[in-house]
């Protein structure tokens, strides 16, 4: 049985492959996939992968990811490959790409950052200073965050 066939193929929606093992639940959270949705979400965890060793896979029915979703996803699953499925066939393939500048993707965690003043009409903005290893800092105050903390602060 191929790894992708552990769950049923979907008719319409998005398949997110190559999620680092253990991160699928985080992906569900940051994509705002509610548990009360009417259509199924299939989750495969800890399957073998040539690319990653072990990986998670998500199949989300009746939802197509947009660019903003991909920007968020890039923080957790920078090697993810995305397939948009329409009528049982792959209509589009996309790779996530982490930009240099992350606008309204994650919040700064530093308590004295100007972004903590909620009355200020400013966007949350992060700069990617290194990709390998991933290092992201607040554009305003310059503070970095550990990756786990950053994932928790994804908007």
């Amino acid at each position: 049985m191929s790894e992708m066939r552990r769950v049923t193929a979907i008719r319409n929606g998005t398949v997110i492959d190559h999620i680092p093992f253990g991160n699928a639940m985080q992906v569900i959270r940051i994509l705002g996939i509610n548990t009360d949705r009417a259509t199924p979400v299939s989750l495969v965890m800890n399957v073998p992968s040539d690319k990653l060793g072990r990986k998670d896979v998500l199949k989300i029915e009746d939802r197509e990811l947009d660019q903003e979703d991909l920007d968020r996803l890039a923080l957790i699953a920078p090697a993810a490959s995305i397939a948009i499925i329409r009528n049982h066939t792959v209509a589009e393939k996309m790779n996530v790409e982490l930009g240099d500048d992350l606008l309204n993707i994650a919040k700064c965690s530093f308590s004295n950052c100007i972004t903590k003043n909620q009355r200020e009409p400013l966007p949350q903005r992060m700069k990617v200073v290194s990709r390998e290893p991933l290092e992201v800092r607040c554009y305003y105050c310059g503070r970095g965050q550990e990756i786990d903390e950053l994932i928790g602060n994804i908007i």
Partner: protein, 324 residues
């Protein structure tokens, strides 16, 4: 309630005049500003009248206390023939709850340039993005204080003739002290070696040390000051800042931990200088003031010519080759 700022951040491409962090200046820019500052010393002292900035208005936007920075900005502007609007958050719309964004929009219409000090880190960058006039960061929380760095570099170069190859010992509150954050970046770019002296609780933040090392910096970290004195070319003292501590007990543990007296300096190198961004509390004894090493009052004066040079640069006004 995120309101779109004028596009995403339109000023970045045209941010020539902003000085938010030392990254806004190349090494050549820094040298050019220091050269201009040197030429402007007689103007800063009032010996020569040079109204280069006549008709220009500086807004001094101080949301946090300041003595030297605010006054030296004001003196610099006035010595160059410009005028100054002084703002403080007490007794203005800020105390009624006005946002920084709105306050800065107003200043954009009243002044040609603004110096801003704010307790929140990142406030200067935010302001620079929000308005069209150049913004000079006069200190944002524990973040950056680049105009202080420029006057510090000016003072070091004045004493030693150059910046490279020096052993600069930074002492005290390296965690919250914004002056040492900006200064250490700049010194490393010019090839100085850094010795960081602080108690464990006030060590230089990790991301700064990692940045400095990534630039190839030669850095030593220690808690003991005494043994560093004989090797130092510059000792840069800082105050342990009570106001930045989360609680009094933590402050009490480290207050007064470093103190230099005239007698501590017996083994110091000839030409070594002691600097301090001021105000001092008890980290430099008054007995040091009359030694050849004391340069902190000179340093405070140097804020005037250095900020003159920075104001000219940000406003696109060229300092004449010969000032007379």
């Amino acid at each position: 309630m995120t309101r779109p700022m004028r596009e995403a951040h339109p000023r970045e491409s045209e941010s020539m005049g902003n000085l938010v962090t030392m990254d806004d200046l190349t090494n050549d820019d820094i040298v050019a500003v220091l050269d201009d500052a040197e030429k402007l010393v007689p103007v800063a002292k009032g010996d020569i009248l040079l109204p280069l900035l006549q008709g220009k208005v500086l807004a001094n936007m101080f949301f946090e206390n300041s003595t030297r920075t605010r006054m030296s900005f004001e003196t610099a502007m006035k010595r160059l023939g410009g005028s100054v609007l002084n703002f403080s958050s007490v007794g203005t719309s800020v105390s009624k709850g006005e946002t920084l964004y709105d306050t800065m929009q107003m200043i954009d219409g009243y002044a040609d340039i603004a110096a801003i000090r704010h307790p929140r880190q990142g406030a200067a960058q935010y302001s620079a993005d929000a308005v069209g006039i150049p913004i000079l960061n006069a200190g944002d929380g524990a973040g950056n204080h680049p105009t202080q760095t420029m006057l510090d570099l000016f003072t070091i170069r004045q004493a030693h003739g150059a910046l490279d190859g020096l052993n600069v010992v930074l002492v005290g509150d390296l965690r919250y002290g914004r002056t040492v954050h900006s200064l250490s970046h700049a010194l490393v770019r010019f090839g100085a070696s850094l010795t960081l002296v602080s108690p464990a609780s006030l060590k230089m933040p990790e991301e700064i040390v990692s940045d400095l090392k990534a630039h190839g910096a030669d850095i030593k970290e220690t808690e003991a000051l005494d043994e560093q004195i004989s090797e130092a070319d510059v000792i840069y003292m800082t105050r342990i800042q009570k106001e930045r501590f989360p609680d009094e007990e933590e402050y009490a543990k480290v207050a007064g931990i470093y103190r230099i007296e005239a007698s501590s300096l017996v083994g110091a190198k000839k030409g070594m200088i002691i600097m301090h961004p001021l105000p001092r509390v008890d980290e430099i004894a008054p007995s040091v003031d009359s030694t050849e090493f004391a340069k902190y009052f000179q340093q405070a004066f140097n804020g005037v010519p250095t900020r003159m040079a920075l104001l000219c640069r940000s406003l696109g006004v060229e300092v004449p080759k010969k000032v007379k």
